[in-house]
Symmetry: C2
């Protein structure tokens, strides 16, 4: 879209409109005087007084006439404020504003923001949560946002008990204690630990003590449990599982363990996934590698892959809202506890049974073989004691707004969560530090009167994301009506510092906007590096001739925007070299995510932070200021084309055997593809001087993702309404295309009633075809009867 837009400026109507506008009233009057001057000189060749008088009179008369004509015409234009609005509407974006914002953003300020934000732990539902919310609100008031408010929700959270720690034990056959895990991470560097640091735990894990044989289940993926069951012939029913972190969302590990009948789960971080390949490499606090004591905290629950307070699906957790009883909600039913690899080694080295498959072997120093179990050597058993409590707490979103000058009811929304497991110097305070710098920079321009975006820009500091994307989901649920009809896009940054390349996940219509913004920003690190963010990204993670952009899963707060309401969304960050084979930055969710880690190790000059700040700000500005929204539907069709091809590769043959074809989908998709091309041709020839036309086209662009939603939701996931993209049901982190098909086809032959399941596949294929056709109809020429009665 951005390219297209530029074309318009260069050779389309837009340029002529702009240059017309550049004539101010004063200039025009001057030019009239000059014309008259010319005609006056022509007549000066003649001689009589009469003529002189006539000419002078004529000049005066004409001048008077010009003024009368001018002002009477002006008076006809009803109102000068309206005139300004009208001109503003034609003006479009101001290139200079982009530069001002990009230049204003400052790495040092980001660094200081981060220092402040990470001064102490700020876990959701604790006093620090509220304090930080007030801090952000105050900052936004100070920065000059038009308004900022705290929006509280009362939600179910989960905490370990300091006075009654969680333990994983090895018991001797006589019941005595052979080994006991550490209740806390070790203090490795001055200031790593704070009295408020929450001990390692998995949020929402059931409270309880279980005892039994241990089984190693690799990453705890569904395919791992299947392999155990079918190939390796290890039954986990009644057992305690030990899984390593990585590859998939931890909540799905617990779900799978529970589903396969396990009574408890221990999750640990293996050096294979969280430390350097060379096991001898130094660890935190000298490097970013995970020390043996480090534990990844984290929630086990994302409500329907969307998030939100477990007790109030689909509705906001206001004080008096109806709440489901805890027992009727699908929270984990088994105790689960995370440990570090130093502790895990004690369990793994004791494991009896066959050696696990090669690809299941981890990399704990001194542990030659990872066995499967079940059970430990010498008939020892494992006891898992989890004393977590679930508790309703207040937690606080902060919402700030720069009011749009022309279309205040169109919202470009930036969001980042504020709650952290401990200090959260990476997750999420790196993002918060950047968002605060964007509000400062934009607020400064607004305060100075130099800028007010065409559309409103909304800043969101989310509460309790770590638990289940709660703050964002409750807010989306509360304001679903206004967001559904008015939100332009949601731009999320959770955490930032990778060290290899920029990374974006997004709905495909935002691709060009992302590319365009990344082309304006110099990549980090700056010394000796003059490439743009786009250049490095294209080089390091290409997808054909453009950088790779993945689909959105539910790893952060964009999930409900996209999944419940169909709001186009993007998630921005830097990422790591995939050759490192790490699942995330190694210290993720440990107490070692400190200011020290970021400022001394991961982003010493805060250049990665700055680059994200600039890309995020520029995308926002572009979406807020562009006369025509910079969405491109053709990138959507390109993405879907690949996704449909992949579906066919995976399922078409098998479907054909059940008399299900892709014909209806192919036909609808063909329509969508040609409509997308026609739509963008129409946009290129838009009468940009017609405000209603502009608004109409923008509504169509904005509602493309809305049109992908089905109010009835995906099969078995009523609140996941986007038919084309959703988090995978087997890994909430993964963004799946046409997820309903993947879900219904998964092990269809083993389903209790395959014929009924095939009927559901048949039905959902029809829903997909209908939905794609709906999108095509949404972008048809809105002036035409085609939008309500296509030729057929």
């Amino acid at each position: 879209m951005e390219d297209n837009y530029h074309k318009l400026e260069v050779d389309g109507d837009f340029q002529s409109l702009k240059s017309t506008h550049n004539h101010t009233q004063a200039n025009d009057t001057d030019s009239q005087v000059q014309i008259l001057g010319g005609s006056q000189r022509d007549k000066m060749g003649s001689r009589t007084t009469l003529i002189i008088v006539a000419v002078v009179t004529a000049v005066l008369g004409i001048t008077l006439g010009v003024l009368i004509g001018w002002f009477s015409s002006q008076a006809q234009f009803p109102d000068s404020e309206a005139y300004k609005i009208w001109l503003k509407a034609l003006e479009g974006e101001d290139e200079a504003i982009r530069e001002m914002i990009l230049e204003e953003l400052n790495a040092d300020v980001i660094k200081e923001n981060l220092r402040t934000l990470t001064a102490k732990p700020h876990l959701a539902g604790t006093p620090a949560d509220k304090e930080n919310a007030e801090y952000v609100k105050d900052k936004w008031d100070e920065h000059g946002l038009d308004s900022a408010r705290i929006v509280p929700y009362n939600v179910l959270l989960s905490y370990p008990l300091k006075e009654k720690p969680n333990f994983v034990y090895i018991l001797n056959p006589n019941g005595t204690e052979f080994y006991k895990s550490d209740p806390e991470e070790k203090d490795l560097d001055d200031g790593d630990k704070h009295p408020d640091t929450v001990p390692p735990f998995n949020a929402y894990a059931a409270e309880g003590t279980v005892e039994g044989d241990l089984v190693y289940v690799n990453y705890g993926r569904i395919e791992d449990f299947q392999k155990l069951d079918e190939e390796l012939k290890v039954n986990v029913t009644g057992k305690i599982c030990i899984a390593r972190y990585g590859k998939i969302f931890r909540g799905d590990k617990a779900k799978h363990a529970q589903q396969y009948g396990a009574v408890g789960l221990v999750i640990y971080s293996d050096p294979a996934d969280y430390a350097a390949d060379d096991n001898t490499a130094d660890v935190y606090p000298h490097t970013w590698w995970l020390p043996g004591s480090g534990v990844q905290r984290g929630s086990l629950y994302i409500k329907q892959g969307l998030g939100g307070d477990p007790l109030t699906p689909a509705y906001p957790s206001s004080e008096n809202a109806y709440r489901y009883p805890e027992s009727s909600v699908d929270l984990p039913k088994i105790p689960v506890q995370p440990i570090g690899y130093e502790n895990a080694k004690h369990f793994l080295e004791q494991l009896d049974g066959d050696r696990a498959p090669d690809e299941w072997q981890g990399n704990i120093d001194g542990l030659a073989n990872y066995n499967l179990g079940p059970g430990l050597l010498d008939e020892r058993t494992v006891k898992l004691e989890v004393n977590n409590i679930r508790e309703r707490k207040w937690t606080y979103n902060v919402i700030g707004m720069i009011r749009g000058s022309q279309e205040p009811d169109r919202y470009v929304i930036l969001g980042n969560h504020r709650d952290a497991w401990v200090f959260g110097a990476v997750d999420p305070s790196s993002g918060t530090a950047v968002m605060l710098e964007i509000t400062r920079a934009m607020g400064k321009l607004v305060k100075s009167g130099k800028w007010r975006p065409r559309r409103s820009i909304v800043f969101c500091s989310w509460a309790a994301e770590e638990y289940s994307l709660i703050g964002s989901t409750e807010w989306v649920e509360e304001f679903s009506k206004n967001l559904g009809s008015r939100a332009v896009a949601y731009l999320n940054v959770d955490n930032i510092p990778g060290n290899y390349t920029f990374r974006a996940k997004a709905t495909p219509n935002l691709l060009q906007t992302i590319f365009e913004a990344t082309k304006y920003v110099r990549d980090a690190p700056f010394p000796g590096h003059s490439e743009t963010v786009y250049d490095t990204w294209l080089k390091r993670n290409p997808d054909g001739n453009q950088p790779k952009v993945s689909n959105l899963g539910s790893g952060s707060d964009y999930a409900s925007f996209l999944g419940q309401l169909g709001i186009s969304a993007v998630d921005l960050r830097y990422t790591f070299d995939s050759d490192l084979n790490i699942s995330s930055y190694p210290l993720y969710h440990s107490m070692y995510e400190t200011f020290h880690l970021v400022s001394e190790i991961m982003d010493r000059s805060f250049e990665y932070h700055l680059a994200v700040a600039r890309v995020w700000a520029e995308m926002s500005r572009n979406l807020a200021d562009s006369l025509i929204l910079p969405f491109d539907c053709r990138d959507y069709t390109a993405n879907l084309e690949k996704s449909i091809a992949a579906l066919k590769e995976d399922y078409e043959q098998k479907m054909n055997e059940h008399d299900i074809t892709f014909d209806a989908i192919d036909s609808a998709f063909g329509n969508l593809t040609s409509e997308a091309v026609a739509f963008h041709e129409r946009i290129a020839n838009s009468p940009l001087n017609d405000p209603f036309y502009v608004r109409r086209i923008n509504d169509q662009l904005m509602y493309v993702d809305r049109a992908f939603t089905d109010p009835l939701g995906l099969p078995d996931r009523q609140l996941q309404r986007h038919v084309a993209f959703a988090p995978s049901s087997r890994d909430a982190y993964f963004g799946e295309a046409f997820p309903g098909i993947a879900d219904l086809m998964f092990e269809i032959d083993k389903s209790p009633d395959p014929a009924a399941q095939w009927e559901r596949v048949r039905e959902h294929m029809s829903v997909i075809a209908f939905t794609i056709q709906s999108v095509a109809t949404t972008i048809k020429d809105a002036e035409s009867i085609d939008t309500l009665a296509p030729q057929r």
Copy 2:
């Protein structure tokens, strides 16, 4: 809203804008010349040639200057087309257009339309259905609509078999036939009958033959069956029921009979409900009263109280759409057949058992007592033979459009169904005859270049309404995305001729628009009657100091617009004196609904038709042309206030006993009420010269009913999404307020699990409070952060 709007014109900005606009370019130039003329006269008192020359030169110079000044100023306004658009945006509605449309509408043309439309039966799915669709399309093309298209759907319909008629028998104990009902209505007047006339039947009644004792069940309402069961101690299980038509939707009679275990149902029209009180009064063809032979046809099915093809709930019945197997859809499982009172008398006079309660007694001539049964005298039994088939057929909507000049993507939708059980001279062809006259009148203005509405006007001729509102529902489902975001309102006319007063059912925000339109139209009958439609209506059916407007049920094609999408809707017609105590016009759905009936008996001068045409057209024009949409949210709150009071009266005490309060609802409703007042104050002070502002306000007005929808639907009725209004679950014709509560509270003590049911009540009360609050948030100042983060 309309009053408010008028206020604006009189004393607000709008007036000054309008008067400014009324200066055309030519006028302004003239007035300048006059001013100059004045100054010229002052100088004419002096004498020298010099001065004459100077003056003449000055005049020429000034004139030239005026022109230069004028055009240079014009040039500064970027584009003349845009200028016209801009002025048009400020212009608002044109009062003259209203008069032109109202005057153009012609009763004689309506009469001729009706004659043509009723020339032969035009049942859905028959060749005449398609022929009529093509006729309407051709007419619309001829009338000058910008476009008209046929939109076909392939849907499940139901027919009796001519070669194997349906019968209701009385059998002697030995099995021989004692009596057999007539398979057809009698030919009473030349031309009443046509070879294509479908015999009386109830659509979707199960095929089958059952035999057993007969029980009289009065109107077959749920309270009738309850009374039989609990008080009168007559068990209908295994019996055949006979019910009289009236009071509630016939499909609900069948549903209740089935629910209470009956094996079959006979429905007849009792003279008490369909003939004059004086049983000796003359009947059709001399009067409009039902003759003994007349039978009310009609469908037994409205999908979820919304309508649509039974096989494709929620999605359009396109050719390749997925269809549920018939067996999995809740179509009637028992045979049902309608008969006339001439036939019914044979069954009722044979009925054994106790005399039915007084209020159950009907008025068949010569039948002194209506007994309950079970069983007939002399051990005779009843046999019911129904040979209906269900069959997939093509049926045809016709969609026509007048493209809006300024906001073509805003749709004011007029709809009327086209299919009839037989000739349909009242239902629906009276409405079709009127709609065709509106398209002619509006088309003529458009063709002449005198008018193009600001917003698009969409005309819909619906297919297969009689079966289950099928054409409208499938269309709403197919275009749900575009209609959901773009439809302004839906205006339905099914059938017209009553003879007492105008009647409207509507969402409350449309009240003022209806009142306003009815004030412009002189009421029928015209001779000796100079009142407006509004005057008579107010006199004959008042609700406090304004005419009574009821809530919408699902009696016609507005059901899915409102219920699935939350599009504000209205249904217009004339109605009868309620003192007549008739359920509908007596010949409803009989084969005697002929052109003769309408043109000779019910509306000889077609003045009722004309009055509806004018009200319908004027409402449409107003909604299409008004700069600010003429909705009034304050009427919504006034309506809801009463509804909430009624809820409290019915349920509050009982709820309190279960610890459920109205507090959250009261609080949300208080917010809504004050927001509605504030919203209309803002509208009264709108900068009407800002097109984006106008669009924004209009979107808020338009989305009020959208905000009342919940994507999760009502309890047990997923596709009924409007939380405030829906058809009653026990009578689809009745529009219930907060229907979820009525449904959940209905006989709650007798529910299988009262505690669980009370939990659902508690939950739904919370959903209602949330929904009302959502509406309040929708109409908050759209420039304010209040829309996303209210102070609390």
